[in-house]
């Protein structure tokens, strides 16, 4: 099986789900596919989805790595708020675009190192360790903004949130490039294998000579940096840092994206592409519900129903979307392991 074929087989359930969700939305909103060029900007629902999913997509990249090590990072929404506040404060203090980016990135780095040390060195369970920052971090963000919405005026900075590059929204460019960069980093080096190994069996991996402590800290740092980028985009988009609401509940959407991406919460094998498709699926649902014109109080319920349906269809018990029998165009050379062989 070639590498491309393997990848296609891995992400087939997510691709099918995405297509199905898009078809469902376009039933209610036939103009869904229309994309036009206005003032050198691409405008249309698909472009809007690709732009709005940026924060969750960025968080999902880091979250995929963390979950692959059998961990979880509940603090990413809060880290977004901290980094966004730090960026707004830096602009306010006159440090300029690069100063703001450096300070926001450093804040994300520090948050990641904090989480990583709690998990890898002190051995605290990831869900508890990151819960600390999730709760306390909002307070830190509020201290940075003095409890108000800290607005700023910097065209260079807000370009990151609302600008376009050759017609494409900058947030879209950022999350796609980040996804490609991280994907290449973990698959072109041995990082991906080593992360999967410690996620499956930490003790055996350590005995095989893997520096599991450093690797664990590194994935939480990666998650912190991804959250910093998401925070910068969110802040730039609204030209202000809202410590109370920036990134609120987004950690849950990020986890959901990873799970819809077919990555096991028990660690091990992971696919960043599949998580990004998961983020796209979530955003398509969010946007679709608004477009379909349901009263807003229905939104969360409809989203919940769709997510349940997707997860049930993907569940190992049903295997509807994983079983090659149901994917005729992939059936060739896909050899399902007969259970008899497992028992032998």
């Amino acid at each position: 099986m070639t590498a491309a074929r393997k990848l296609l087989r891995r992400i087939a359930p997510q691709l099918i789900t995405l297509v199905a969700v898009i078809l469902l939305v376009s039933l209610y909103y036939p103009d869904f596919y229309k994309v036009v060029l206005v003032n050198d900007r691409l405008v249309g629902i698909p472009i809007d989805v690709l732009k709005r999913c940026a924060p969750v997509a960025l968080l999902a990249i880091g979250m995929t790595l963390v979950i692959a090590t059998r961990g979880i990072d509940l603090s990413v929404g809060t880290v977004m708020a901290i980094c966004g506040a730090a960026a707004a404060w830096s602009i306010d203090q006159g440090y300029g675009l690069w100063g703001a980016l450096a300070i926001a990135g450093a804040a994300g780095l520090v948050c990641g190192v904090w989480n990583g040390i709690l998990v890898a060195v002190l051995g605290i369970q990831p869900i508890v360790a990151t819960l600390i920052l999730m709760v306390a971090g909002r307070g830190i963000a509020q201290l940075i903004t003095n409890g108000t919405i800290l607005t700023f005026d910097s065209d260079a900075f807000s370009y990151l949130g609302s600008g376009t590059l050759i017609g494409v929204p900058v947030p879209t460019v950022i999350w796609i490039l980040t996804g490609i960069a991280v994907g290449l980093l973990v698959r072109r080096t041995a990082l991906g294998l080593l992360i999967e190994a410690i996620g499956v069996n930490l003790r055996a991996s350590t005995l095989a000579g893997i520096n599991s402590k450093v690797l664990l800290i590194a994935v939480y740092v990666a998650s912190g940096l991804c959250a910093a980028m998401a925070g910068i985009i969110a802040t730039a988009d609204i030209r202000g840092a809202d410590a109370n609401n920036a990134g609120l509940w987004l950690e849950l959407d990020a986890i959901l994206a990873v799970v819809i991406g077919g990555n096991s919460p028990l660690g091990g094998r992971f696919s960043i592409v599949a998580s990004l498709l998961g983020a796209l699926i979530i955003q398509t649902i969010n946007t679709g519900i608004l477009l379909a014109g349901f009263p807003s109080e229905f939104n969360l319920v409809i989203k919940a129903v769709l997510v349940i349906v997707i997860l049930v269809l993907q569940s190992p018990r049903l295997m509807l979307l994983q079983d090659p029998v149901h994917l005729p165009f992939l059936r060739k050379r896909a050899a399902p392991t007969p259970p008899a062989e497992v028992r032998k």
Binding site: V200, N201, A204, L207, A208, G209
Partner: protein, 502 residues
């Protein structure tokens, strides 16, 4: 007979955990069940208590065949079990633990006073005087054990299985527990006692049964047996006449030896000296928990040494963690393959290159074609039975998993490889192949330390054998002295009486 098994057989992938075992328990006896790791003790107990379903054979209770499907059903039949880790609820009171599931009730509401009265009644005759309203975890471990026993006896009442009950007790608590056990025996219960403390076995048991590699080896009244005979039965000693120590090829004494001086770890293994010469196989013998695995962990840096030095021809060797040990050219195939060895979800290929890749660092990946070449090479050389290199290693049999671990280390070309029970729980064919492999790599100058319960295996492959007892290296046999009888005598030294965990 109160409880018997007839030709009880249980197979796991790649290994026969129980092979036609016949076992008899009389009413009113304490029957010790002995054997090394993987001998089949716990599998036998789990079949008796319904935790496992047997493949074939009969379990007879009072002469009638029974088919327990769960521990609850086994309890209803009359078979109760108390495990080493007390399986009670530490945050409830003693009375609640004793009566859980059958509390006296009125209109569905628990009657606290009746419950306490019942609990006090259940504890009568156990010689402990405690307030049953106390929370369980405020009691000593010994009292918790006795509470667990009282509960098991109350619910089942005929057969009591004690699985390593004394592992975390001190000498006084052991005496207290044994008084309880004797009292139950005199009431006519049949008690199965599993322990690796031989002194305790001799003290409390009436009869004992030895299992080895899933087979019933012997059942004797304790009075007929001495320590030496017991250990002989527990450790494999069958091929004495067909294998002999190979004196013809002595180890190279000129080369670059690794010298461990005074390394050890407080509470795990007393400081010891060891010189490892190129091309040498060092055997390590001792009973379970004697300090043999602990020695290996210190040698590999899995548990860092708190004393002593390690040097080779180039100077000091840093062994503060596995990574540094691997950098120094060491390898370690641990005893527990499942938890410490394989990375089950990853493929055979990935498992084989894991240590090599970890040593190279993440930034220098081994190319896929190269990985495949290494994996296919070792699959062929070690005859690993797998359809291809991309099968998850967790789906292979035990013997093949062990070969994958060996391949992982051989791929790093170590100079010193530590093998902890490399042949446990694997079939005869793979067994012989692994021994042949050891000879092959040693001939090319690698040094190997083999830990094994199979004395004949040690005698066959080792240039010298170190005997470990009570967390101390007590003897080293070299040359013509390497034979099973001498090893057994060193392990069984009658002066070793400190086995009761202090």
């Amino acid at each position: 007979m109160l409880l018997s098994t007839r030709d009880l057989t249980k197979t796991f992938p790649g290994t026969k955990a129980l092979d036609a075992v016949n076992f008899d328990l009389k009413a009113g006896e304490v029957h010790a069940l002995l054997g090394e790791n993987g001998a089949g003790k716990s599998t036998l107990v789990k079949c008796l208590t319904g935790a496992y379903r047997r493949d074939s054979g009969d379990i007879l209770f009072d002469g009638r065949p029974v088919f327990p499907q769960s521990t609850l059903e086994a309890q209803a039949i009359g078979i109760g079990t108390v495990y080493q880790e007390v399986n009670l609820l530490p945050n409830l009171t003693v009375a609640e633990n004793l009566t859980l599931g059958h509390q006296p009730r009125r209109f569905g509401m628990i009657r606290p006073r009746a419950m306490q009265a019942l609990a006090e009644e259940m504890l009568q005759g156990y010689g402990i005087d405690i307030d049953v309203r106390r929370q369980l975890d405020s009691c000593s471990v010994a009292v918790q054990q006795i509470v667990a026993i009282a509960r098991a006896v109350h619910l089942s009442g005929r057969v009591l299985i004690l699985d390593e009950p004394t592992a975390s007790l001190d000498a006084r608590e052991v005496a207290m527990l044994f008084d309880v056990v004797r009292g139950l025996r005199d009431r006519g219960l049949g008690i199965i006692f599993i322990s690796h403390f031989l002194d305790q076995v001799f003290e409390i048991s009436d009869r004992l049964t030895v299992l080895r590699n899933g087979r019933h080896i012997a059942t004797h009244p304790v009075a007929d047996l001495d320590r030496m005979q017991l250990i002989t039965a527990m450790l494999s000693h069958e091929l004495q006449h067909t294998t002999s120590h190979r004196l013809q090829r002595s180890a190279d004494t000129s080369g670059d030896a690794i010298r461990f001086t005074g390394v050890g770890r407080r509470g795990r293994i007393a400081p010891f000296d060891l010189t490892v010469r190129p091309g040498e196989v060092i055997g390590m013998a001792g009973l379970l928990r004697s300090g043999r695995t602990e020695s290996a962990e210190v040698l590999f840096g899995a548990v860092s040494s708190d004393s002593g030095t390690v040097t080779d021809a180039r100077g000091a060797v840093d062994l503060h963690n596995p990574r540094s040990a691997i950098a120094a050219g060491f390898g370690f195939a641990p005893e527990d393959r499942k938890t410490d060895g394989i990375v089950a979800e990853l493929t055979v290929r990935e498992n084989i290159i894991l240590a090599l890749q970890a040593r190279q660092g993440w930034a220098r990946p081994i190319r896929y074609a190269e990985q495949l070449r290494i994996a296919d090479d070792y699959i062929a050389r070690l005859d690993i039975r797998t359809p291809d290199a991309e099968k998850p290693v967790g789906l292979l049999s035990g013997g093949n998993q062990q070969k994958v671990i060996l391949a992982r280390w051989l791929a790093t070309h170590p100079r010193f490889l530590i093998l902890d029970e490399p042949t446990r729980g694997i079939d005869i064919g793979a067994h012989a192949e692994i021994l042949r492999l050891i000879e092959e790599v040693v001939a090319r100058g690698m040094s190997i330390l083999v830990i094994s319960s199979e004395l004949d295996e040690l005698v066959a492959v080792s240039h010298r054998v170190i005997v470990v007892r009570d967390r101390t290296h007590v003897a080293e046999l070299t040359g013509a002295d390497v034979d099973s009888d001498r090893i057994l005598r060193a392990i069984a030294d009658p002066h070793a009486s400190a086995e009761v965990a202090a």
